[in-house]
């Protein structure tokens, strides 16, 4: 779906992107993770030609991006930037309707679409559609930003630290909601972040960058378990494995053994199951009809690997 | 009944100086012409003398009012002495300005010349009646503060000439210089004795002199030029509307110094409208009915 091959971007001789090569499959979320200034945003913006590369090839949906006009290319790709970038002088509905109206959809269709999008991101149409961006909380604004990027139903969405400005508590909620939306829509997503937990939670694959170069690219498990160098390892810290546990649902690792106590919530993660065991000092906690054992959690990553 | 309009769609622009007398004289012309069926664009009290002059030259004004003595600034090649006599002054500017396309009509017999005024009290107490007396008073070291226009203070045919002729000299601290020459202000300052002022620039036709209890010092040597107001019409306009030139020809002839003083007084002291005063004059003179 998206293919970068030996892509380099120089600013006055400084390589913000240096020989970057990767592919994003249809329906996949690729998370680009790295420290500040490593070239994440630049890489993202090369894809929709907000920035023109110095050398290399970029293909989107099998076509070289140079064969399309920049503006047209961008109209077909959703784009969510840090701090939302909502247009402060337009109400929520007009913000969301931006690309559809550029594309010349008829009014009725636009209205329906706005309603549908607000629904999708969990905002009440009547309450929110006529608000101005400054009347929204950070989390609400973020949702509108996502709704706007998806309004014209693009196959591809680029997201640049979309939840960067949201406080930690709301952030988790947004991340989970985004996961759900993605499960419905199966977009092809490139997602930039410097938050390790976020990368773990959302990424099908993670691409770790450093000083403009791709250091390692692969599934979160592979990266945590087989970091290719110290830099990658240090990134996940000593607690990388725990973070990884948040990716798996406890129910998937449960067995039929009966266990006492109040069961975990249906979509609890392995991490939550582990926390619950430690809290209660038990080696087994109930989940669904059965229960899950500490040893299953201990084995989980191993099982995943094979 | 309404007279027929004689210059449909081509109004004649009439202007005058932005001062009291300009208001009266300009309106006299305006009303006289309107009475004869001319459509006039009213630019009475249009601007300062030089703005007014240039407006006439450039055709911004068709008709204006100016003073014969001002010719000394407008045209070159005349001896200073021609400007201190009424007839030679008029003749000089009339002939010279014909080349500039401006025709000077007969001026009023009213010399609105520059003079120095003092209060009656001052005059009596120090027995200062003429400029010679003033010179003596100043040279004796008498207190004096003279309010005048910058322009008058700085010309040979003005204060510089007077100082030379009568043999005295104002010190800078004895002068209050205004950038304009309108004497309503100087005379008011004098009559109120504001800031110690006890002498002021006056024009001979100033209407407020009597009411303010002021006297004009005599100038036996006649230093400042003669300033008689006259209507001026552009040659183009005169050629187009000969009747207008006819009307203006002697319009001011009947205006005496006393008459102008009285009219000025009514405007500046009593606050009457210059137009009303002009109208009254025209009626009295039988030009309007």
């Amino acid at each position: 779906m998206i293919r970068l091959e030996h892509v380099t971007k120089e600013y006055d001789g400084f390589r913000a992107c240096d020989d970057v090569t990767f592919t994003v499959q249809k329906g996949e979320i690729l998370v680009i993770l790295g420290p500040s200034g490593c070239g994440k945003s630049t890489t993202l913006r090369l894809i929709n030609r907000m920035v023109e590369r110095t050398s290399g090839t970029i293909e989107v949906k099998g076509r070289n991006v140079d064969t399309v006009k920049g503006e047209e290319l961008r109209r077909g790709i959703g784009y969510v930037i840090q701090n939302t970038g909502l247009f402060p002088h337009m109400r929520v509905d007009r913000n969301i309707a931006t690309v559809p109206s550029i594309l010349g959809w008829e009014q009725k269709r636009i209205d329906d679409r706005v309603r549908e999008m607000l629904d999708l991101v969990g905002l009440d149409h009547d309450r929110y559609s006529k608000k101005y961006p400054r009347e929204l909380s950070g989390g609400e604004a973020q949702r509108v930003g996502v709704a706007r990027a998806l309004a014209s139903d693009p196959d591809i969405v680029l997201m640049d630290e979309p939840f960067g400005a949201v406080d930690p508590i709301n952030r988790l909620r947004l991340q989970k909601e985004f996961s759900q939306i993605q499960r419905k829509l199966h977009k092809t997503v490139v997602f930039v972040t410097h938050d390790v937990e976020e990368a773990m939670l959302l990424g099908d694959r993670i691409c770790i960058m450093r000083q403009g170069k791709v250091v390692q690219i692969g599934t979160p498990e592979k990266i945590v378990l087989k970091p290719c160098d110290d830099f990658v390892e240090s990134f996940f810290g000593a607690e990388g494995a725990l973070k990884l546990l948040s990716r798996y649902r406890a129910a998937d690792y449960a067995d039929d053994v009966h266990s006492e106590g109040s069961p975990l919530e249906a979509d609890s993660s392995l991490k939550e199951a582990l926390a619950s065991m430690i809290l209660e000092g038990r080696e087994r906690v109930p989940v669904g009809a059965g229960s899950i054992a500490l040893s299953s959690i201990l084995d989980a990553l191993r099982r995943q690997e094979s | 009944e309404e007279p027929v309009v004689k210059n449909q769609g081509d109004p004649i622009t009439v202007g005058s100086f932005v001062d009291t007398e300009g208001g009266i004289l300009g309106n006299i012309i305006l009303l006289a012409l309107e009475d004869k069926g001319y459509v006039i664009e009213d630019k009475v009290q249009f601007g300062t003398p030089d703005v007014h002059r240039n407006a006439l030259l450039q055709g911004e004004l068709d008709i204006g009012v100016d003073y014969t003595g001002n010719g000394q600034y407008y045209v070159e090649g005349f001896a200073e002495s021609v400007w201190v006599k009424a007839d030679s002054a008029y003749e000089s500017i009339r002939t010279a300005d014909e080349k500039n396309g401006l025709l000077w009509m007969t001026p009023a017999k009213a010399n609105n010349t520059e003079a120095i005024a003092v209060t009656k009290d001052f005059s009596e107490k120090n027995s200062v009646k003429s400029l010679a007396d003033l010179a003596a008073y100043i040279n004796k070291g008498g207190e004096i503060k003279f309010i005048t226009s910058q322009l008058f203070a700085e010309k040979e045919a003005g204060l510089l000439g007077i100082e030379k002729a009568y043999g005295f000299k104002f010190q800078p601290s004895q002068l209050v210089l205004l950038p304009h020459g309108n004497t309503a202000e100087t005379l008011k300052a004098l009559s109120e004795g504001r800031d110690g002022i006890n002498a002021a620039l006056a024009y001979a036709t100033d209407g407020s002199l009597v009411d303010l209890g002021l006297v004009v010092l005599e100038d036996p040597m006649s230093i400042p030029p003669v300033y008689e107001p006259a209507p001026i019409i552009r040659k183009e306009t005169a050629d187009k509307y000969p009747e207008v030139k006819e009307i203006l020809g002697t319009l001011f002839a009947g205006l005496s110094k006393e008459k102008l003083q009285e009219m000025n007084k009514k405007v500046i002291v009593d606050g009457a409208s210059p137009k009303d005063i002009a109208e009254a004059y025209l009626k009295e003179a039988g030009i309007l009915d």
Binding site: R45, E71, R74, T84, F87 | A55, N182, A184, S208, G271
Partner: protein, 384 residues
Amino acid sequence: MNRKPEGTLLLFAAAGIISTFFLDFAEAKPNRILSGLKLGSFKFLGIYAGILVLVFAVVIVSSVLRDGKIRHMISGMAASAGIAVLLLSVGPMAGLAIPAGTSPRITISSGIYITLLCLYIILGTSMRRLKGHRTLKLVLAAVAALPALFAVASGSYSDLSIMKEYQVKKSQFAGNLETHLFLSFGSTLAAAVIAMPFGYLAYKKPTLEGKIMTPMAFFETIPTLSLFGILMVPLGYLGTIGIFKAIGVSGIGWAPAFIALTLYGLLPIARNTLAGFKNVDAGVVEAAEGMGMGKGRVLWRIELPLAFPVIFAGIRVALVQAIGGAVLAGLVGGGGLGSFVFLGLAEASSDLVLLGVIPIVLMTLTGDSLMKAAVKRLEIGGAV
């Protein structure tokens, strides 16, 4: 709950009382230019002066009231009543105070202006601090404003010197007002049309910023009057050329004034245009571009609307400046209300000066506050 007396009310009520007792309210002159008898408030207004003192006393008492709402209601009502009494009584009382003589004049003196100012400030303060109560505020404003209109319209002021000046100048007043409006609004519009593209250019090409702004800033250092004067020469020359002559360009009249005022308006507008565009959140522009908007669309749909409140604030500054500057047109034959000012100055008639000044001040104040309100309105949909 505020336990301290309210300073603003106290201060201006005290100032009002002092001005009522000690300043002249009118001058009864034997004629237009001679000084005359100065009249204090009680001599001039009689019982109504007593009412004014009472009004200020009420304000002082109200300023120590504990309940803010009641306090401001009382002081506001007192002030607007005071304004109404003052404005309505001046006309008839002037009629009574006219001295004998052929052409006597009654001139309003500083006391009335200062007392009025104190009352307006008390009223303004009370209304600002009174939250809600829209109808009450509307009534207060009406009580304060309508009497002046009524008095002017009904001819109640006809005995005042300034109205006599107006009677004399009536035929020129409308024309001069119109010229003044044309000069100030027209030149501001022209300045906006020229300066906005330059401001935008300076934004797009930062290297040009100095080259664009420095000359504009230079105009600002040339005294207004000199610029009028200096322009007379080239314009006088231009005026002899056919096409310019046809549109009325000449060395005197409106052209030099109009051009000079336009030049003065350039800097504030260009500067604010630059600042306005710079202020637009880079993220917003990035989002717009990222959604496939073309350059023109980004400019018209995003950048311009977002920058406009700031640009408009610059236009406001330019307008206020132009209204004031247009006075000088009176000196170069350009007409406008400045004609009255300079004729008044020359004839030593402060009433005639005021006949020019008061409309200018009103024009400035209303223009300024309307534009301010407009800026606020623009911002409702805008950034911030």
